[in-house]
């Protein structure tokens, strides 16, 4: 009797998380879709002018900006994260691993507002002084996000590298390949799908990041023309304006949320698909 009680209670809690996900989904669609109907899908997705109190709901520049900062983060965080993962799995001794792994977990636990604050205080003035522009820019945002996605990229690609069977490495070494040749030609290619998944999950993290981005991106509405221009992402648009929004303006922000939700779902689907294909 008691056993059953525990089992079903745990099941109820497990299902409740699914229930919340479902609730969020329904809620965002319910609030966001009416505007798509009213203003038109094309007007919202491809419109380049965002003036919600005057009836323009174009979020095209923000979609572009979101992808730009995400790729920027990947360019900075991807190679760094992969190198770190290769070092951890192939070269580092036990002691180094014991030191590096918890340090990386700590990096993941730092609240994003702290990253944003560091960005405003150090990165933005550096970019302003050495590269020009206002400092609040695509470059600053990519730098900050690049560091923020490191833990995701490292831990998932590390797991992928570790799951490559030892026999592969032994086989390659026995054929006379050096250690680097083994890593470069055998280990990394076999862990390819996992590494790819780690990049895509890193992208998901970068595209969803809000607080740090608001603080360093400058939030200008125009699509940036250089890496020194300020920009506004989908997430920061919602967080910036929600406090004052009412009526259609509020619906416009929910529509932004719908677009964001769809982009993140696609990214997650690709990542999961990549992992499955690999294993």
């Amino acid at each position: 009797m008691k056993e059953y009680f525990v089992k079903y209670m745990l099941m109820a809690f497990a299902l409740s998380s699914l229930f919340f996900l479902f609730l969020i989904f329904i809620f965002i669609l319910f609030e966001g879709l009416p505007l798509f109907h009213k203003a038109g899908l094309k007007h919202i997705i491809l419109g380049s002018k965002w003036a919600p109190t005057k009836g323009s709901f174009g979020i095209f520049p923000m979609i572009i900006s979101s992808f730009l900062v995400t790729f920027g983060a990947l360019i900075i965080g991807g190679p760094m994260g992969l190198s770190c993962a290769i070092y951890l799995s192939e070269y580092s001794g036990k002691r180094m691993k014991m030191f590096l792994k918890p340090a990386l977990e700590l990096l993941a636990g730092i609240p994003s507002v702290v990253y944003g604050f560091l960005g405003v205080v150090y990165i933005v003035p550096l970019v302003r002084d050495y590269f020009g522009g206002p400092g609040f820019s695509l470059l600053s945002t990519s730098l900050i996000l690049g560091v923020m996605i490191l833990p995701t990229v490292i831990s998932i690609s590390f797991d992928a590298l570790m799951s490559v069977p030892k026999t592969y490495r032994e086989g390659s070494l026995a054929m006379g390949a050096t250690k680097w040749q083994t890593i470069y030609k055998v280990v990394v290619p076999s862990a390819k799908s996992g590494i790819l998944a780690s990049f895509i999950l890193g992208m998901g993290r970068a595209i969803g990041e809000t607080m740090a981005v608001i603080m360093v991106a400058g939030n200008a509405l125009r699509t940036p023309l250089s890496i020194l221009d300020p920009l506004r992402t989908l997430t920061s648009n919602i967080a910036l304006e929600l406090a004052y929004a009412s009526g259609d303006h509020r619906l416009g922000l929910f529509s932004t949320g719908v677009v964001l939700l769809i982009i993140i779902m696609i990214l997650n689907y690709i990542a999961n698909f990549g992992i499955k294909k690999g294993s």
């Binding site: 002018k49 206002p134 609040f136 125009r222 221009d229 967080a239 910036l240 304006e241 004052y244 303006h249």
Partner: protein, 270 residues
């Protein structure tokens, strides 16, 4: 197991009992409640006023909410609130409400203290924010892009700036956007090439307020109406207010209430 069940039971009981205390309390019934809603720019000041007011009048609860000037005016029409707050003048069709001027708030155009420019005509400010002037050279300083900062869509300060400075022109979409007076000030204080606008009460030695057409933004010039970028903070009531509501309005307009507002950097009406 039984321990855990007991704990869950206990937490439910606590939850339920804490709900019922508020509803059934005898004291709550005797109290009057004043509901105030509207402009987010006015809200923090009214909240401060209400804190002082409730200390002296323990039998009146003042409930201050935001929502924006327009929402406040609408709610006042519907009589869902006792007092509406607005940081803009009423439009023609809204004149049926009774308006009570509680204070003025000046909007100061600020630059970095290193910036040698002290005075700009209003038309130049408009040109900067509409994207027609992009370089400090055009204003007689060094050859460097202007880093202009505005507030986000829907903000009361932005609304007043659009009305008083931009007139019919739109704010350029390449201009940076920040979501509070504080962060605009922070950027202007750290970026020598920045320009932005914030509430007069927040200007200190970290930023430099510009004179507009030769007139400095200060309390004397606002009182004498020479400084033009000023918006009124209004209370709105639908018809004659109830007795306890009137008590609060009287408190806001009293010397004590006006002194609180003045301490916050606003310009009083007395």
């Amino acid at each position: 197991m039984s321990k855990a069940a007991f704990f869950i039971f206990l937490s439910f009981v606590t939850l339920l009992s804490s709900c019922s205390i508020n509803d059934n309390s005898e004291i709550a019934k005797k109290k009057h409640t004043i509901t105030i809603a509207g402009s987010t720019s006015v809200m923090p000041f009214v909240e401060k006023l209400s804190e002082h007011f409730m200390v002296d009048n323990p039998n009146i609860i003042v409930n201050v909410q935001s929502g924006g000037s327009t929402a406040g005016i609408q709610a006042c029409f519907n009589k869902t609130i006792d007092i509406g707050m607005s940081s803009r003048e009423l439009k023609e069709e809204e004149r049926a409400l009774k308006e009570i001027l509680i204070c003025y708030d000046g909007i100061s155009i600020v630059v970095h203290p290193k910036n040698p420019i002290k005075d700009l005509p209003l038309t130049k400010i408009r040109a900067i924010f509409s994207g027609k002037i992009k370089n400090w050279k055009e204003l007689g300083w060094i050859d460097r892009k202007i880093d202009a900062i505005t507030r986000e869509e829907g903000s009361g300060t932005r609304g007043a700036f659009e009305e008083l400075v931009m007139k019919n022109e739109e704010i350029d979409d390449a201009i940076m956007v920040q979501d509070s007076n504080g962060s605009v000030k922070e950027i202007v204080a750290t970026d020598p090439y920045a320009i932005g606008y914030i509430s007069l009460g927040l200007v200190d030695e970290r930023v430099k307020g510009l004179a507009i057409d030769g007139i400095h933004a200060n309390i004397q010039n606002i009182t004498s109406r020479r400084y033009k970028i000023v918006r009124p903070f209004l209370f709105l009531t639908n018809g004659a207010p109830k007795e306890h509501v009137q008590t609060f309005i009287d408190f806001v307009l009293s010397k004590q209430g006006q002194d609180i507002l003045r301490k916050e950097g606003l310009v009083g009406v007395r």
